[in-house]
Symmetry: C2
Subunit: 253 residues, 2 copies
């Protein structure tokens, strides 16, 4: 008996942003596998087994999911945002490549989700309206000099930058060093937004600029958006300004 | 009387990937505004007005939507994929910045959607599992030398690249030139995927590599994914290989 494995993007947290395909995959799974806070977001269903695990156990979690599926279960591996963006999809395929040959015969589906950076961008206006990149600031999975090299390349070439994993207890200084690196490349007035837990009850948005940005504004649930030299701020009579990056380079006044 | 303007991401095309918030915004709008093929995707509703326009009319379309909203309508501007990614959200904010001061008092909501690159990545495996960027290959909105500069910067720094707007009748040679540029930087075996109309009935996926890729494989509805030197292909006993980019730089064998 062979089961199936679905890697489901839960989106930013609000059910209004969860796709029907993701809802269906969660409803029909016999087993849910994921990081405990993400599994906890999902309503319990009678007979459905829940396998919640700790942070930074991605490969072991992926192997557990693959073993369950190979034994016949309909497994849903859950991930926040989009599962293909610094999340469980890559961990599952890595486990498959280096694991049991039989795992390559499994039916595997990745269900995309609304990523943190698109939820943040939508909340702010359209800061990703021109070329952009997504970069994880974590140096657990790559050397710090590669992070700096990529930041430098992206900012110098005019990409807007979405920074994932900006800060954690184990990585307290990296965001400050990244901002210092960017200050050597981008104008001091470059817009920066800290977007935390977008679409959830504890959502928080801080819009500032490169000269005033401080790393303490971010926590583990924050996405940091770094504008390009062309990113614009639209002031409003009331409410927060909107941020957007013009589609055209010529549109800069 | 003041209306509201919602910029709605329709996702890649399949209703199973349309968020509940997007469905709701489409159902409650008095007026739909958008590029004709996207408006045509939406079921007609009695009393709802449809304003379909031609391609490359983004700013005029945005102004029309803003005028309708300012006159009291509940306007939904529709965009394929995510409206913040090379789509209508940036056009609307550009129109606001340079338009009527009253437009800054409008209630504007951006509803994120599943972008073409995440739909493509999910279909292929997890090619965006490490740092990546999104780049429009169109030189209508920026000079061609900027496109080449950004391609070079992104590929040299190890980003996976999602190429939007790879080719059109008016831009027939740019994708070939981009592939030539990338051949000077990346190994010939770098995986490349052409992902067309993902999730729709006429979906087509071609997986190849940099030495064999030809621009004719792409059309206007194709997203081209360029791997990094670390992107891996997992062969399977039957069916297409999976593509993924390991989360860790050290994971390369």
């Amino acid at each position: 008996m062979t089961g199936c494995l679905t890697i489901v993007g839960l989106g930013p947290g609000n059910d209004a942003l969860l796709t029907p395909r993701a809802s269906e995959a969660l409803a029909t799974a016999t087993d849910l596998v994921g990081y405990a806070p993400y599994v906890a977001r999902i309503a319990e269903r009678p007979g459905q087994r829940r396998h919640a695990s700790d942070n930074r156990q991605e490969i072991e979690r992926a192997r557990e999911a693959l073993r369950l599926a190979a034994a016949g279960a309909a497994v849903a591996v859950v991930s926040s945002g989009d599962p293909g963006v610094f999340a469980m999809a890559a961990a599952v395929f890595e486990a498959i490549e280096h694991g049991e040959p039989a795992w390559r015969t499994l039916e595997v589906e990745v269900v995309p989700g609304i990523s943190a950076m698109f939820a943040a961008a939508a909340r702010l206006g359209a800061p990703l309206g021109h070329d952009f990149c997504a970069l994880s600031l974590s140096d657990n999975l790559k050397p710090w000099d590669v992070v700096l090299q990529r930041l430098t390349a992206a900012a110098s070439a005019g990409f807007v930058i979405a920074l994932y994993n900006p800060i954690s207890r184990a990585r307290p200084w990296q965001l400050g060093a990244a901002l210092d690196c960017l200050r050597r490349i981008l104008p001091p007035t470059t817009p920066i937004a800290f977007a935390r837990a977008i679409s959830q009850p504890d959502e928080r948005v801080v819009i500032t600029d490169l000269q005033r940005a401080v790393p303490e504004t971010a926590d583990m649930s924050t996405l940091v958006l770094i504008g390009s030299a062309h990113t614009r701020q639209i002031e409003r009579p009331s409410g927060e300004p909107w941020l957007y990056t013009p589609r055209s380079l010529e549109a800069k006044p």
